[in-house]
């Protein structure tokens, strides 16, 4: 099921939580809503589910306008952050709940519901735990029961709110791989919310980066990482450095020296230069470069990260060096970014 969010605005008691957000989710896609807390990602998920109504705009499921439909009519599988398992019901009853509350001919027989529940338990690798209560399960097991329960109603769309947020690191990694497998096996259109960029970049087909109620960028992990389109994405995803520079006739200047980079289409004036620590080339001489003094150096896995103090303003940037590079404390290092972007100075 394809999902389209069209110009959606959401206010809570006059405070806007989402400003004019539009997003196309393709059928069968696994998509992540990534952002810091307060970015509106959970609000967007709840709007898709029908747990909230948009103040403006519409949400389409396929060709149908779903925004005026109730959550029951939308037929979405929602996995809550803290699972919201029914504590007085067994695992099997939890999974069968969505079938049990159907009316008339749509409701399967008790036997059929049991059979579906144990089938789903097999799928989430929890066979044999039918009779357990949620309190008798570990966090990771509860997570999987919650997913099985959401899938029992054969949803058009699967929505997960911080699905791994409450789990420890190891269980989290295992479940991540497992969710990807389940998604590939069932083909549900799946949207999940996370504040963990590693999780989003590793798991999702496409990542939606959000900040302050707006979508900053939508793209694959590579696109988001290699060509960030805003200072926010640069600093929120991965690591980056920025320097205040001046553009003059398409030439970029740092203080009174040219950096050796051309930006022919940028307007002249103040700007911010963003680049990632590993997207740099080291230079020997310095005619057109950024030069700085090593202020700190640390070993990160196979490389060395050094912090440089640049110029009189003592701006700090971070770049990556080969481990055997002789740059020690106080020595000068000259470099030039190989992949970079200019943003207007704010």
């Amino acid at each position: 099921m394809e999902v389209r969010v069209v110009n959606v605005r959401k206010e809570f008691e006059r405070f806007p939580a989402l400003h004019d957000v539009s997003l196309d989710i393709r059928s069968g896609e696994l998509i992540a809503l990534l952002g810091p807390s307060g970015s509106g990602k959970t609000t967007l998920l709840r709007l898709i589910a029908g747990l909230e109504r948009p103040t403006k705009g519409a949400i389409f499921f396929g060709e149908e306008d779903a925004s005026q439909k109730s959550i029951q009519e939308r037929n979405v599988g929602f996995v809550f952050q803290h699972y919201a398992l029914f504590r007085h019901m067994t695992v099997a009853d939890n999974i069968g709940f969505g079938l049990k509350v159907r009316h008339g001919a749509a409701r399967p027989s008790a036997q059929e519901i049991r059979r579906r529940a144990s089938e789903l338990l097999d799928l989430v690798q929890l066979s044999g735990l039918e009779k357990r209560y949620p309190a008798q399960l570990s966090g990771g097991q509860r997570q999987r029961v919650a997913l099985a329960r959401a899938m029992a109603i054969e949803p058009k769309v699967l929505l997960l709110d911080e699905p791994f947020g409450a789990l420890d690191a190891q269980v989290r990694r295992e479940l991540r791989r497992w969710l990807r497998e389940i998604h590939d096996a069932t083909g549900h259109t799946t949207v999940f919310v996370t504040h963990d960029q590693e999780e989003a970049l590793e798991l999702a087909d496409r990542v939606v980066v959000m900040s302050q109620g707006r979508i900053e960028q939508v793209g694959s992990a590579d696109e988001i990482y290699d060509t960030p389109n805003s200072p926010f994405v640069y600093s929120f995803i991965g690591e980056s450095s920025s320097l205040p520079v001046k553009v003059d006739n398409g030439e970029i200047w740092l203080a009174d020296r040219p950096v050796g980079l051309q930006a022919p289409h940028a307007p002249s004036g103040e700007a911010l230069l963003y680049f990632r620590p590993h997207d740099v080339e080291l230079l020997d001489g310095c005619s057109g470069c950024i030069a700085g003094t090593v202020a700190a150096s640390r070993r990160v896995a196979g490389t060395r990260r050094v912090e440089l103090e640049i110029g009189g303003e003592r701006q700090r940037v971070e770049i990556e060096l080969p481990v055997d590079h002789p740059a020690a404390q106080k020595s000068r290092v000259a470099f030039r970014p190989t992949r970079w972007k200019l943003f207007p100075a704010s």
């Binding site: 589910a49 029908g50 747990l51 959550i71 029951q72 037929n75 979405v76 599988g77 929602f78 809550f80 803290h82 919201a84 398992l85 029914f86 504590r87 007085h88 019901m89 709940f97 969505g98 509350v101 159907r102 690798q125 309190a135 008798q136 399960l137 570990s138 966090g139 990771g140 097991q141 329960r149 959401a150 029992a152 109603i153 420890d168 269980v171 295992e174 497992w178």
Partner: protein, 294 residues
């Protein structure tokens, strides 16, 4: 896949450290004082009730309990409880639901209003109904014209009882529902349940032990209420006397055996309530912990 972290939800007991433990004599004195108080002010009166009721033997005791007026008082008390407790369950659940699950204007006011019967003397609660429904009252003339009798009859007693007991269920449920939040209900709705199914299959089971606890306290108060009921009942023997009122009448007539026999039933009810309450607290302490200590 192994998941190591299984959480336990049991009540946790704080172990006492040596630093805060008093010396033996101090502990004995403290315990002695507490026990002496309990014995003199609670246990002794209870024993006296049963002792007085049985001074003239078991025959006189059963006779006192089976006299027509007593039987009628017992019936009336049961009737009043049977009407007021269910009504307060409905009211309590609705009020708790509204307060815990929704935001609306006047919520704080409603919460305060629910506590009103706790802060008003029961006599006042009764008098309010006299002022409203009495012959000289606001609605008195209208009621008389339509032949509706409320005061000095069963409806008045039921109304007064509802008034004094209505915080019990609501007060039990509000903190419980607030703590549980909306998550489970949202999950039920997302799975296709309608509002009624979400309430019946999810909300109600989540609060059932708290609800039972509230019903228990509500019932005990409904059967034992004296002040408010006394004002509106009119003390008509065999008609508008509840058990607590009947005890007073018998006692004023120097019928000690009769009075204490009926009193022993009320005391018995109190004991049963206490035992059930303790059992509930022991088994479902975590669920109703938030509500202890009126």
């Amino acid at each position: 896949m192994a998941d190591p972290e299984i959480k336990s939800y049991g009540p946790h007991h704080e172990s006492q450290s040596a630093a805060v433990t008093e010396s033996r004599p101090v502990r004995w004195v403290a315990m002695g004082i507490a026990l002496a108080f309990l014995a003199v002010f609670l246990l002794l009166p209870l024993i006296v009730v049963f002792h007085e009721a049985l001074t003239k033997g078991i025959g006189a005791y059963t006779e006192a309990l089976t006299s027509p007026d007593t039987r009628s008082a017992i019936r009336l008390t049961l009737l009043v409880a049977a009407i007021s407790v269910p009504l307060n369950v409905i009211f309590g659940i609705s009020a708790a639901w509204a307060i815990a699950k929704f935001e609306f204007k006047g919520k704080a006011f409603l919460t305060t209003l629910i506590d009103l019967p706790f802060s008003v003397s029961p006599v006042i609660s009764g008098l309010v109904y006299v002022l409203l429904f009495g012959a000289q009252g606001l609605l008195g003339a209208w009621l008389k014209a339509h032949g509706i009798v409320i005061l000095f009859a069963v409806p008045g007693i039921v109304l007064a009882t509802i008034f004094v007991t209505f915080p019990f269920v609501a007060r039990e449920l509000i903190p419980l529902m607030q703590e549980q939040g909306n998550g489970d209900e949202e999950a039920a709705l997302s799975l296709g349940a309608n509002g009624w199914q979400a309430f019946w299959y999810v909300t109600l089971p989540n609060v059932k032990w708290g609800l039972l606890y509230g019903v228990l306290l509500c019932n005990a108060r409904a059967m034992g209420e004296f002040g408010a009921v006394s004002v509106v009942s009119g003390h008509i023997r065999g008609l508008t006397n509840t058990m607590p009122l009947h005890v007073e009448i018998l006692y004023n007539e120097y019928n000690a055996v009769g009075a204490f026999a009926v009193a022993s039933l009320l005391a018995g009810l109190a004991l049963v309530t206490l035992v059930l309450k303790t059992l509930l607290e022991m088994r479902y302490g975590a669920e109703i912990a938030a509500t202890r200590g009126h």
